[in-house]
Structure formats: structure tokens, C-alpha cells
């Protein structure tokens, strides 16, 4: 059990740190999640220990973000509604988005854009694009419906895309 926790600790820390939007709480959240997983190992009934661990950590991280917002340490939550995302157009032609994979500035913009979206969207998007969970697993991790997961991932991704497009990047057409 302890070996499993240690094996997942670094990835868990990276995920929690991103969900929190960085800051000093990531280590505490991971440690709390590890201890909580250790204590409640008997309640683990699923097939994926990793998904179970990410569920504990993700929920704790989202709670921390909400608490920070309540204390006024972070701006008010952006809406996490089911409305259609708006696709913004680039102000001026720029480099192709497809060429940005290794671009430091683009990574910085993505990081910044992720911090600006609702923590639930951010968590779902990170669980999909970084951790590679499928929608059903993300729904279990975040205790929501698959439709909600699909909507959160899409709106989060469009929000990041809009942040990049606003800096002048454009698409070559797919």
C-alpha cells in the first residue's frame, strides 16, 4: 500500500498542484490524501487504485480552492455552467497552434488560462489531457455524470484555446 502511494505521489502532486493553480497547499493536500487513502483502504472497492487515489486528492484540492475563494485569496469562481462556449477569433495572424507543443510562452499561456477556469473544469481537463483517464473514470473521480464531464472538458479546452488565440496563435485548419 505504502509503495503504491509513493509510486503515485509525484504525479498526484503535479495534478494537485495544477488543480490548486500552484501555491503552498499542494504538499499538504497530497499528504492528507495519502493518509486518508491509507486509513480508508478497506472502503476501496474499485478496480483502479490510481483512480481512487486521484478522486481523493482531486476532491480535496477542489475543496481547498473553494476555501481560498471564500477567504478572498482567489478571485470569484468563473461560472461552471452548461452554456455553449464562445470561440474567439485571433486579433491578428500568428504562429500555428500545431507548432506550439514545445513553445515556452505557449505553455505559460496555457498554465495561466487553466488557472482562470473553474476548478471543476480544470480538474476534469487535467484528468483527461494530462492523466489520460477516460470520461467514465473522470465521472467516477469527480462524482458527476459523464455528460457533465464531457461539457466541462470541452468548455475548459475551448477556454484555453481562446487564451492562446487571443495571443495571436491560429490554426492551420486541422
Amino acid at each position: 500500500m505504502e509503495e503504491l502511494l509513493v509510486a503515485h505521489a509525484d504525479r498526484l502532486y503535479a495534478h494537485v498542484s495544477r488543480v490548486l493553480g500552484h501555491g503552498p497547499d499542494a504538499e499538504d493536500v497530497v499528504q492528507d490524501a495519502s493518509v486518508s487513502a491509507w486509513r480508508s483502504i478497506r472502503s476501496f472497492e474499485g478496480t483502479s487504485f490510481r483512480a481512487w487515489l486521484f478522486r481523493i486528492a482531486t476532491n480535496r484540492a477542489i475543496d481547498v480552492v473553494r476555501a481560498r475563494r471564500r477567504r478572498g485569496e482567489l478571485p470569484f469562481d468563473p461560472p461552471d455552467d452548461d452554456g455553449e462556449p464562445q470561440w474567439t477569433e485571433p486579433a491578428s495572424p500568428g504562429p500555428d497552434l500545431a507548432d506550439l507543443a514545445a513553445d515556452r510562452e505557449a505553455v505559460g499561456v496555457v498554465d495561466e488560462a487553466l488557472r482562470a477556469i473553474a476548478p471543476e473544469q480544470r480538474a476534469a481537463l487535467l484528468l483527461r489531457d494530462v492523466e489520460g483517464f477516460d470520461y467514465a473514470e473522470i465521472a467516477r473521480i469527480t462524482a458527476t455524470e459523464i455528460g457533465t464531464v464531457k461539457s466541462r472538458i470541452h468548455r475548459g479546452r475551448v477556454a484555453v484555446r481562446n487564451a492562446l488565440v487571443a495571443r495571436g496563435w491560429r490554426s492551420s485548419g486541422g
Binding site: M1, E2, L5, V6, A9, D10, R11, L12, Y13, A14, S17, R18, H22, A26, E27, V30, Q31, S34, V35, W38, R39, E84, W87, D96, L97, A98, L100, A101, A102, A106, V107, V110, D111, L114, L125, L126, R128, D129, V130, D134, Y135, K150, I153, H154, R157, V158, V160, R161, L164, V165, S171, S172, G173, G174
Partner: protein, 236 residues
């Protein structure tokens, strides 16, 4: 369905399409639309590139080990918890046993006292005062010095035993002939036990389990230790 309407639907499903989360029929429809719609194809490319950028985010690394050594930190407390819980139970049993013996001893002594008399008053019958012998000695000395006449010394001899009689171990024959209840008790205790007194004499032996309060204190101390170890193990 109009083309714009279809475009809205495709745009809504683009992320699920890219993630392979669409049903096969819907996937075919989206693919067909993307082949015909340059704008949706461009959006699809942007989202694919965005997903790749998100996936390529550098991973923050922790400064130190994040998982405390959960399995080993308090494992030594497990045998201590079991041992102290067992010891606490044993001490409780010893407390009960010693308390039972102690109360049984007291009850037996009270029973023996009631059946044999006031055993506790026996020492009162012992010869305590030494005034009579001292008076005799003084009178003899005075007679020898000639300060007091032989009659006075004789008077003193005859009075001194009478004054010491109530507490004397060697009372005058007249007093010894009519023994008091105290003298009876002393004689009974000094005499070999009769058959009916055997039980009382046997109960006079103190119990050998020690003070029950010591066992109770040990039981409480080991119970506290067991609870502490249990809580520490649970919180670990």
C-alpha cells in the same frame, strides 16, 4: 437539420470526438461533417493542439517525500497495544480477586469477633501500670533509711496491690476468684483454639494478593497505554 445547426452540434462534440468518447454512429457523422466543413476542421485542429499543449505542461515536483512512512512509523505499537490490553484485563481480574479476598477477610474477622467476644479489647487486660511495685520499692527504701516506720511500709504493701489490682496481671486472690469479662477474653485468646474458633483463627491469616488498589492502578495505567497505542495506530 440545417448546416448551421449541424455545425453547432459538431462543435459541441468536438472534444469528445477527439477523445474517442463518441458512439460509433455519431463519430461517423462528425467525421463526415469535418470532411465538408473547413471551419469545424480548423476548430478541431485547434482543440487537438490545445490538448497536446495541456499534456505537455511541465510537471511540478515536490520538494520532499510526500508520503509519510505510514506502514513503519507506528508498527511497533501493535504488539504494545495487544500486550497492554491483555495486561489491563489481567490486572482487572487481580483487582477483583484481591478485593474479594480482602472484603472476605474483613467479614470473617467481624464474624470471629462477634462469635468469640471483643478480641480487640484484650490488650486492655494486660498489666500496664507499674505504680504498685514502685510504691513498694519506695516504702522499703524509706523504712531502711528510718524515715518511715515499719507499720507505714506494711500499710503501703497492703494498699499498693489493691491500687494496682484492676490492671495487674497478678491480681489478689480475691479479685482473681471473680474474673471480669476482659480477663475471660484474654484467656480465651491465649488458650488453644476450640473447634468452633478454628474458622476465625484461619481467617486471621492476611490475603496474599496484595492491595486491590495497586491492581486497579495498574489496570488503569495499562488501559490508558492500550488506548493511546490504538489511537496512534488509527491516526497513522
Amino acid at each position: 437539420m440545417t448546416f448551421e445547426k449541424e455545425m453547432d452540434h459538431v462543435l459541441r462534440d468536438l472534444s469528445a470526438f477527439l477523445d474517442g468518447e463518441l458512439a460509433p454512429e455519431r463519430r461517423v457523422e462528425v467525421e463526415r461533417h469535418l470532411a465538408a466543413c473547413r471551419e469545424c476542421a480548423a476548430r478541431s485542429g485547434e482543440l487537438r493542439a490545445t490538448a497536446r499543449l495541456i499534456a505537455s505542461l511541465p510537471a511540478p515536483r515536490p520538494a520532499a517525500r510526500l508520503v509519510p512512512p505510514l506502514a513503519t512509523r507506528w508498527s511497533w505499537l501493535r504488539p504494545l497495544r495487544s500486550l497492554s490490553a491483555f495486561a489491563s484485563g489481567a490486572f482487572v481480574l487481580l483487582f477483583i480477586a484481591s478485593a474479594t479476598l480482602s472484603s472476605g477477610y474483613r467479614f470473617g474477622m467481624e464474624f470471629a469477633t462477634r462469635t468469640t467476644g471483643t478480641a480487640g479489647s484484650a490488650p486492655a487486660a494486660a498489666p500496664a501500670p507499674t505504680a504498685a511495685p514502685a510504691a513498694l520499692e519506695d516504702a522499703s527504701k524509706q523504712a531502711a533509711r528510718g524515715t518511715v516506720g515499719p507499720e507505714a511500709a506494711d500499710r503501703t504493701r497492703s494498699v499498693a496491690p489493691a491500687a494496682g489490682a484492676p490492671a495487674s496481671a497478678t491480681p489478689p486472690p480475691a479479685l482473681a476468684a471473680a474474673p471480669t469479662p476482659r480477663a475471660d477474653t484474654a484467656r480465651d485468646l491465649a488458650a488453644p483454639p476450640a473447634e468452633g474458633d478454628a474458622r476465625a483463627i484461619a481467617l486471621a491469616e492476611p490475603p496474599s494478593l496484595g492491595s486491590p488498589w495497586i491492581w486497579l492502578a495498574l489496570a488503569v495505567a495499562t488501559a490508558v497505554l492500550a488506548v493511546y497505542a490504538h489511537r496512534r495506530l488509527r491516526s497513522a
